[in-house]
Symmetry: C2
Subunit: 445 residues, 2 copies
């Protein structure tokens, strides 16, 4: 077992021109270029750690700048030093007394913390020779708890309660691990129905997905009600009444508008409406949830829920499908807090994924959730989007609508060096060939 010391942290602005084909388009993000601030940690023993945070193109350079500001807190530390008090290291990064003004624990600086911490977790898993989910599964509950910063959440979950949850869930753990290795974790696909896709493309992608064993589908809504009704009818007819349909509005509405709009889509029987309004609006989500409950429609949110304190309140205020994000929250550390709180409040965690690398990362967390925390698959599934996996050294494997548990060591977000080089912004080949594009997009906003 190696105990490496971190000697260098490098960060790269990597962008993919996804907006050219309207991949990822929704009611609020009309032309995303899926991007990442990509972190590589070097150690004194040759072992590396890879991490990233996901962005939508413009502004990735700001996150890169923030990672550089945090790097000074990481370089020089040994892995042992970090993981022996990982909760303390988390706080060192997220509560540095001058930098915290820029958040605290939100926005650019928190996305940057996530990229850095994801790389540290990757390094740790590699040092232990395990995939990250297995590192977590094998970890002593006390050590799991020591990775969490409980500041500001003890009114919802104490350290003792967290430990108790983990100890109770040890029963049946081995069987659940075997089950995951055998069957994988249930997934749903968002790839069929981006807002910018034509009806023809939507129909074709739905048919293909059904053929590949998918049973759970998400459709983007919120730009135009008649379009939404047409698209939802189309997809519900394609998938039939017994498959699962979710809807995603990407923050398009105010509270009253959300209730009205979703009520008029109730015929199509969605399991949930995702992000009906501002991701900061805890009380608004609670009001929407209460109004839609009689229609059998749940509310989901989380991909822009910026920290554990926000998730705590979402859980305190109403039931919610908890959509953790591996890069919005402060890496594994903060996601562990949210998984444990969600279990205490007995609501399902259904991770956000897609973008670039999010599927690769978050599959590890949801495997841990099933094996060591929730022990349940009821109303649970992990988002899947089938773009950009080819750029990763250990891409996700999907079989029959399930995430197959990763076997490669680490946290699965190492990118191929060739992909990094060609997609560096603005100097990579992909962008040199597209030089006029960013300006054009700005002007047409």
């Amino acid at each position: 077992k190696m105990l490496p010391r971190i000697v260098k942290l490098a960060v790269t602005d990597v962008r993919f021109p996804t907006s050219l084909e309207q991949h990822g388009s929704d009611a609020m993000h009309t032309d995303p270029d899926y991007s990442a601030a990509y972190v590589v940690i070097d150690t004194d023993c040759g072992l590396k750690g890879f991490g990233l945070t996901f962005t939508l193109g413009k502004g990735t350079e700001i996150v890169v700048c923030a990672v550089e500001a945090l790097a000074r807190l990481v370089v020089g530390k040994s892995l042992q030093e970090i993981v022996s008090d990982f909760g303390g290291f988390y706080r060192l990064l997220t509560s540095e007394s001058q930098l915290r003004w820029l958040g605290p624990e939100k926005g650019v600086i928190h996305l940057a913390s996530a990229a850095v911490l994801n790389a540290v977790w990757d390094l740790w898993a590699r040092a232990e020779g395990k995939p990250l989910w297995k590192l977590l599964v094998d970890m002593d509950p006390k050590q799991i708890v020591s990775c969490i910063d409980f500041r500001y959440i003890t009114d919802a979950l104490t350290e003792e309660e967290a430990l108790d949850i983990l100890l109770k869930a040890r029963e049946g753990r081995k069987q659940r691990e075997d089950q995951m290795l055998r069957e994988g974790y249930p997934a749903y696909t968002t790839s069929c129905a981006w807002l910018g896709y034509s009806d023809e493309l939507l129909t074709q992608l739905c048919a293909d997905a059904l053929g590949n064993g998918w049973t759970k589908f998400k459709v983007k809504v919120g730009a135009d009600l008649e379009d939404d009704r047409r698209r939802c009818r189309l997809i519900r007819e394609m998938i039939g009444p017994s498959n699962t349909l979710m809807m995603d509005a990407n923050q398009r509405w105010d509270v009253a508008e959300a209730i009205r709009w979703v009520s008029s889509l109730a015929d199509f029987k969605p399991l949930w409406i995702e992000e009906p309004t501002c991701p900061d609006d805890i009380l608004g989500h609670a009001a929407i949830s209460k109004a839609l409950a009689p229609l059998g429609i749940g509310v989901a949110s989380g991909e822009q829920c910026h920290n554990r304190v926000m998730f705590k309140q979402f859980l305190q205020a109403s039931a919610l499908f908890v959509q953790i994000d591996s890069c919005r929250l402060g890496s594994v550390n903060e996601n562990l807090a949210v998984l444990l709180m969600a279990h205490k409040f007995q609501v399902p965690v259904c991770p956000h994924a897609g973008g670039v690398g999010l599927c690769e990362l978050v599959q590890h967390l949801i495997l841990f959730d099933y094996i060591c925390v929730s022990g349940s698959l009821a109303n649970r599934m992990c988002e899947y989007v089938d773009h950009l996996h080819e750029h990763f050294a250990s891409p996700v494997v999907i079989r029959n609508g399930h995430y197959i548990a990763p076997e490669d060591i680490g946290y699965s977000c190492e990118m191929l060096e060739s992909s990094v080089q060609s997609h560096r912004y603005p100097e990579g080949d992909v962008w040199k060939a597209n030089t006029s594009k960013p300006e054009v997009k700005m002007d047409t906003f």
Copy 2:
């Protein structure tokens, strides 16, 4: 009347080494170097606009980078174009489809939006030849309302309600304006009792402040209970029972701890406890507020309340002293929304100030609040801190514990060119003389 077009937006990283003397030290921010991302707008007619956002030192370069990303959305626009649909321009900046992922409307990207929009408001006031508060006071209520983005707040305040509030408050407006010009707006001082100050310094500063007519004082608490009791007793004895004392914990506690700690400071009769816990914890603040109400202690928050949607929920969940911030929120536009919501919920607005430039900026907003929105001074006062004003072209004027209404045109945040040059980071003379300092501070964190 000039109708300038913006031809250039420049931003500078300006830092003041305030940590050397523990100015600004509190339970969470032990060594702030008050800093700013300082924006200068140039126009085609020679008129300039000056704006800033406040930071604590490290990481200012990240905000500078974010301002540069936003500049592309501003340069080329005419002032007329912007102010004829200022709400729309606000949304253009804050909801740009790729950049919004980095917030939305929070953290670094929102601080940067504030800096840019502050400069635009300054430009507008200069173009009209008025101090900003007077520009607002003279503005047609419909135009005030058109500056606000009502997205996500219509469940608390509609455009019609906002207009109605402004129209009703026209009664007595002239008298209130005259009163402000005569007496100024009541202030309280935070300069006597920073956490890092010795008891001797605290005693001396208190005596000086009383001599200068101050009647309202704030003390920093939260690091050590016995220290807090000693310091609070000292200051209460100095100021006597009839003057006002506020306490500020700067986010130090969890919910239960906050209630316990503040309860044991109740003897010293604070008007409010400020930021008892995480600034994101709406429900936590409500629980603390409920527990402390029987002791006659209120709860205040806002300097890190990151947008109008958070303020909306704080107001919906419980009573609160609303501490608007001229740089945390999206400039005048978003602060107008919060002033109007606070009035609807009938709670006092007591702005956050201090840092560098915050007093200069926020005095304009609270003058507008009194003259055109709240019409009341009950339990209302604006924070004052007596540092760094000498670096501004039109520094605040305090007389007898009141902010004197500014007469100079603009938004008062133009810095002296000599100050900007000598405090540029890292190349200014002040920092060249202190080169080893940032590294030392990092290591001792």
